[in-house]
Symmetry: C4
Subunit: 247 residues, 4 copies
């Protein structure tokens, strides 16, 4: 299925951009059934192939796992799909420049047109308000629901001391937003340092946010990203086959 | 045409240096007709080949597009060529260390001899002064003219929350300036942090700027950059041909 | 021996992540005899193969060195294994973002769940308190014992102006901790800059540290890291053989 | 000659570590005649081969240039060799983290044992004190002599708004010092930010500097660096030959 190849590409693109390490994940709402989504088994993202994708229902129960191990934090995906019918793709990452914002009171704000969506507001999920003494992981549906509630109708939410979730009405949008969120975080830190305490920074105003967001699907970048990722996936498969043949 | 190969190289060099992402572009004034310029179709820069270059007039109307899609922001190029007869190359980028300056009141200043041209002054284009509520893109000739007016006779201009334009009397100069502008921005941030509030930084004086700028065409770097970029372009073409033959 | 391949991988993984330069090292307590450990001969980590591993006793005397040169600072390993019976892997690195903490009074603290182990406390070894006028290297058993005493029961210790030691009850844990310690150091610097003097940062609380640490063995990352590292090691060996055959 | 291969390696190592861009250079005092030195022709460092090396006398006159173009700033090398009989290798770079120090009043200080040599003191060459209105380049013997005088007996000197020179009694020492000077500059910036205004940083004391410097020739790193660089040089030569044969 074409869409599952998009999802394979998404894993690899986010890994190649340093947005997800071995522990990030991306999911896609099933194009055939809105009550289902696809998510890779517990595996480093830069290794994901189509056969690693598992189908889940919105309670995050695997439908076809076989002996493939599910990701612990799959409830992030199931609960966001339940709460946000228009969302078709969810990214969970440990975006390195976003985490520092998540542990301070400094809000991320839109200052770069490629990440204008930040202007719609990025809430910060503080897991302690729901449960004390956790390892910060979204290990069950209750925590997933709380995170989805914090996210509300926004394009992304920070997760304190952990990372973020980023969503989109389509896959390239969620992937592109994740990449430019990381970059925008770095730019905002630098702008804050340049401006100094009390210095002025020009953020996007409401009208500019509104003019930018609906259009941005990262369509010029997406084919390049996808081609590179899937070429890599094919090359790995071919070299795997060669190895088996030799053995 | 030799010059079009230079332009192909320019796209790839700027992408390889992290100065342009999928959304930057470079143009070249036609060597045969000063009222024409070349710019790649809407395509990620690191993929550009000679057949992706489209010829435009100074109203940024494509002369030979065929079914190739034009870049939305081509008016940046057309209007600068119109306003600056001596300019033969225009770069538009989202240079990551330059954007933070564009949203603060801290001016970029010349402090590194490879980017001495900054000393001639870098204005900052605030699109709001011309039009409210935009997505910051230079979508038409009127915005292009405003940007060109802000640029004036300078070698580069920042674009608030967006990136910058960099120009040159020849292609290697505009490309080299773009690369060293990014580096100089990073160095200036670091110098400001080191010096601290009220600390002293030694910028280039006027005589030093004057002594440095006319000479700097990045001629030692250019052949290396160009060779690498075009070797990559040829390798992609060859692998494309192989693929077709096999199919 | 399977475990020695893990150790070869560990060297190469840490080098590939920029945690160790040519001067870092990793050791493994012998799976057959707790009074023995393995450490590579004096060699750049990204070149280590199984035949470069030397077995030492806890006095850091080589048992089978032959004409292979031992690492000067092997006492770090021997003395930590002596003092910490549960430790099975010791990493010594020059982790670039950790060194700046080691020369200031700012303590590293847990703020990122992948490096929650920091919450157990990271002491800083100031060699001057034991010996004046050294080159900061752990050149003998006495210095090794002092460092082990500073480390105490903790997962890691900074070494002023030099780097750090990181330990684990198994090899993937010590390797993963080293990688995420570097990342967490960077995040903490950025959070401190964002928050500004007197600004609030949300660190992990004690219960969160306790919930996170025992579980974290970096098991999703480890197979990816190991496969890549050993594939590289095999490729180097093959190309070495080819070269010999041709000669 | 073995030593000229070391020099070829040095160019490529420094480029690979990001210490020199297309405009840096390294020289070696002739092993046969202390009044001669070798320096590559005007060429991007990562392309240098043995046939690109030109022999100069201490007045920086080429002895065997043929039609190869000399580097403008060769006087840096000639005048330092004249002033410092014990020096056998000189590096001139635009080390990106060192330049910010050169434009402020913040002195670089030793805080990392791999760059303990900084503790011997790094003067800053302000070209304006010798000549006004230059492009900062060391274009003649008079400027070279001034720079050598600023350097004095030290291991390195910053050059305001331009870069630095680093010297060594042997080639690996000068190359290693250049690499770790860049890293130490980054660490010092970070330490200064962490400590904040008036915060305490523990620098190396005099005895520690004295204990560290004489020994440090980067001997564990050098063979790795050299092998990689020369393997690359050979690969380029082979591919060049193949191309000629096909033509």
């Amino acid at each position: 299925m074409e869409e599952l190849q998009d999802l394979v590409a998404a894993y690899r693109i986010l890994a190649a951009h340093g947005v997800i390490d071995a522990y990030g994940h991306v999911s896609l709402r099933s194009p055939r059934d809105p009550r289902r989504y696809y998510l890779a088994r517990s595996l480093a993202p830069e290794r994901v192939q189509e056969e690693d994708l598992i189908e889940y229902d919105l309670d995050s129960r695997a439908l076809d796992a076989g002996n493939r191990e599910s990701v612990l934090e799959r409830f992030i995906h199931g609960e966001i799909y339940r709460a946000r019918p228009e969302v078709r793709c969810v990214v969970h990452n440990h975006s390195p420049s976003v985490v520092p914002f998540s542990v301070t009171d400094v809000p991320m704000r839109a200052l770069y047109h490629m990440a204008a969506f930040i202007g719609e507001g990025l809430p910060n999920f503080e897991i302690r308000t729901v449960r004390k003494g956790t390892d910060l992981l979204i290990r069950d549906a209750a925590l997933g629901k709380s995170l989805a509630a914090t996210l509300g109708a926004r394009p992304a939410a920070l997760m304190r001391g952990h990372g973020s979730v980023v969503v989109g009405e389509n896959l390239p949008r969620a992937v592109g937003r994740s990449i430019y969120l990381e970059l925008s975080a770095r730019m905002q830190m630098q702008a804050l340092l340049l401006a100094g305490p009390g210095g002025r920074i020009t953020y996007f105003d409401e009208a500019e946010v509104e003019a930018s967001v609906p259009r941005q699907d990262y369509v010029r970048a997406w084919p390049l990203w996808r081609d590179k990722a899937l070429a890599q996936a094919r090359a790995e498969r071919d070299s795997e086959k060669m190895k088996h043949r030799r053995e």
